[in-house]
Amino acid sequence: MWLFLANSLSAQLEYRANFVGSVLASFGEVAVGLLGLVLFFGASDRLGGWTFPQAALVLGFFMLAESFISVLLQPNLNRIAEQVRLGTMDFNLLKPVDAQFLVSTRQVNVFRLSDAVVGLLVIGWAAPRLPDLTWGGALLAALLFASALVMVYSVWFMLSTTAFWFVKVQNVTELFNGVFSAGRFPAAAFPAWVRTALTFVVPVAFVTTVPAEAALGRLDAGLALWSPVVALALLAASRLFWTFALRSYTSASS
């Protein structure tokens, strides 16, 4: 595992410009969210009932999730498509390690840890400005965020698994990013029907809004319980989908 990390890290250090670019991109990402907040709060003092620091907390969680995706998920899962196309996927299937684990953990894009740093900065700025924040709430938020990351992984993994059928899977992940970017803002800021869709159709609200609500002690118990249930269901689904994909892949290719 360490060897994988070291190898992919040294490959990336070759690209100094990319490093600068990644840091800039992280600030860009957070700037999008902050600019939105500045504009919304310039026009009114609440965003769907949330104050500025509360909404900033959501943005912080969003940046952490983005970091998780860019550092751990994207580089590995985009490679699935490449490996299917080049036929090198077979090597993974022959190794004595679980193939799903193997294709999910091969590479990291360390530069995008900058997303996480920026996210922590935002949370660090917001936390002292939140009178409702409790240690218990923070702990629950951390747990719910962990469960959210499981969801994000599962959904990403399923999208990447479609590579066995559609080779150009990058497009599907583009679509994911398009929907996921709604998570920058509290779900309550959206009209009711959009909010419902963001909670139950695509679980974006679970990733950023729900942990923030937990930290603020305003989460209703139902959603707190739903989060791990949804996460486990998605994880199981991703596993089933993967084995199904592998079956059709190994029986189709020669």
Binding site: L9, S10, L13, R16
Partner: protein, 335 residues
């Protein structure tokens, strides 16, 4: 002899140096070079001289990394020489003058220029417009190329659905649509099966004959070179180590001929060794190397000494010759 008017290409003292970044292996090395880059100069081409007459076909041979492709890229204008002079058809290639570009073509077997998701014909039409070929010429050229390459069935298929060989035929035809006078072919047959290699070779030979075009070819397949080119330029470590015809190359770098014997009755290896260097001795089949100049005399002696059923004299395979050439030429540098 060639007059200046017949010259297609003239190269003097061509050199190319690259600066490459170096990095120690491992993570620590990466971190070091991230902060502080060290670079090193690589001399890819060192003082190449070359003259080509109109209509001449020349094969570039040499090991990987010898500087063949770098030279080709400088001749076509993609790379700027570090020093030296290049004149192709009266142009300085690096300026990439439009008239120059209309008179040359570069085909790289590893790179494709056809539009991937469209039928090949679309790429031909684009080239027709870019090279300003009028419709009559276009039709005539397409007819001609179709005869040799048999394109008609594949032009309307999407490029990505073509086989490698079909694609290469289209690449070549597209690259020659404007009837260039100088052709740079870098590994044009790489990865193709033997039939297709022969097909492509025939096409190039035919084009050369019809258009009196000058061709420079690099290839891994010795057969490409031996079939097309009388003149060989061997490049090694950035220098021209041989420039002359194929026969002379074999003679110079291989002072031996191989004599294959079929004996009628067995003979000991010691006895055979008196006639030449024993390459193989397997029952009644024997291969001997003999100095080129003495083959006639020695063979006569051998026939009286041994009970020979059959005897043939051959040049060693060209691969062996080239291999030996590189070994020999490189040796002094290490010594």
């Amino acid at each position: 002899m060639t007059t200046p008017h017949d010259a297609a290409l003239r190269v003097r003292g061509l050199t190319k140096h690259y600066v490459v970044h170096e990095k120690e292996p491992g993570l620590l090395g990466s971190l070091k070079s991230f902060v502080n880059r060290r670079s090193r100069t690589v001399e890819a081409v060192r003082g190449v001289n070359l003259d080509l007459a109109r209509g001449e076909m020349v094969g570039f041979l040499g090991p990987n990394g010898a500087g063949k492709t770098t030279t080709l890229k400088m001749l076509s204008g993609l790379l700027h020489p570090t020093s030296g002079e290049v004149d192709v058809l009266g142009f300085e290639p690096r300026r990439r003058h439009a008239d120059f570009l209309r008179s040359i073509t570069l085909v790289m077997g590893q790179k494709q220029q056809l539009l991937w998701d469209l039928p090949a014909l679309d790429s031909f039409l684009v080239n027709q417009a870019i090279y300003e070929i009028d419709d009559a010429d276009f039709k005539r050229t397409m007819r001609e190329y179709d005869e040799v390459l048999d394109l008609s069935g594949i032009l309307r298929k999407q490029v990505r659905k073509l086989s490698l060989g079909e694609r290469m035929k289209c690449e070549l035809a597209a690259a020659l649509l404007h009837r260039p006078r100088v052709l740079f072919l870098d590994e044009p047959t790489i990865g193709l099966d033997v039939n297709m290699q022969v097909r492509i070779r025939e096409f190039v030979r035919e084009y050369n004959r019809r258009e009196d075009a000058t061709v420079i070819l690099t290839s891994h397949y010795m057969a490409d070179v031996t079939a097309l080119c009388e003149r060989i330029v061997v490049i090694d470590a950035g220098r021209v180590v041989f420039d002359g015809d194929l026969g002379a190359l074999v003679e110079r770098s291989s002072p031996y001929k191989t004599v294959k014997l079929q004996l009628a009755s067995p003979a000991s290896t010691e006895r055979l060794a008196r006639h030449g260097e024993v390459v193989s001795h397997d029952g009644l089949g024997v291969e001997l190397n003999m100095p080129r100049a003495e083959v006639g005399e020695r063979a006569a002696r051998l026939l009286t000494d041994l009970d020979v059923a059959d005897l043939t004299v051959e040049d060693p395979p060209i691969e062996t010759v080239i291999g030996r050439l590189f070994g020999a030429e490189r040796a002094p540098e290490h010594a």
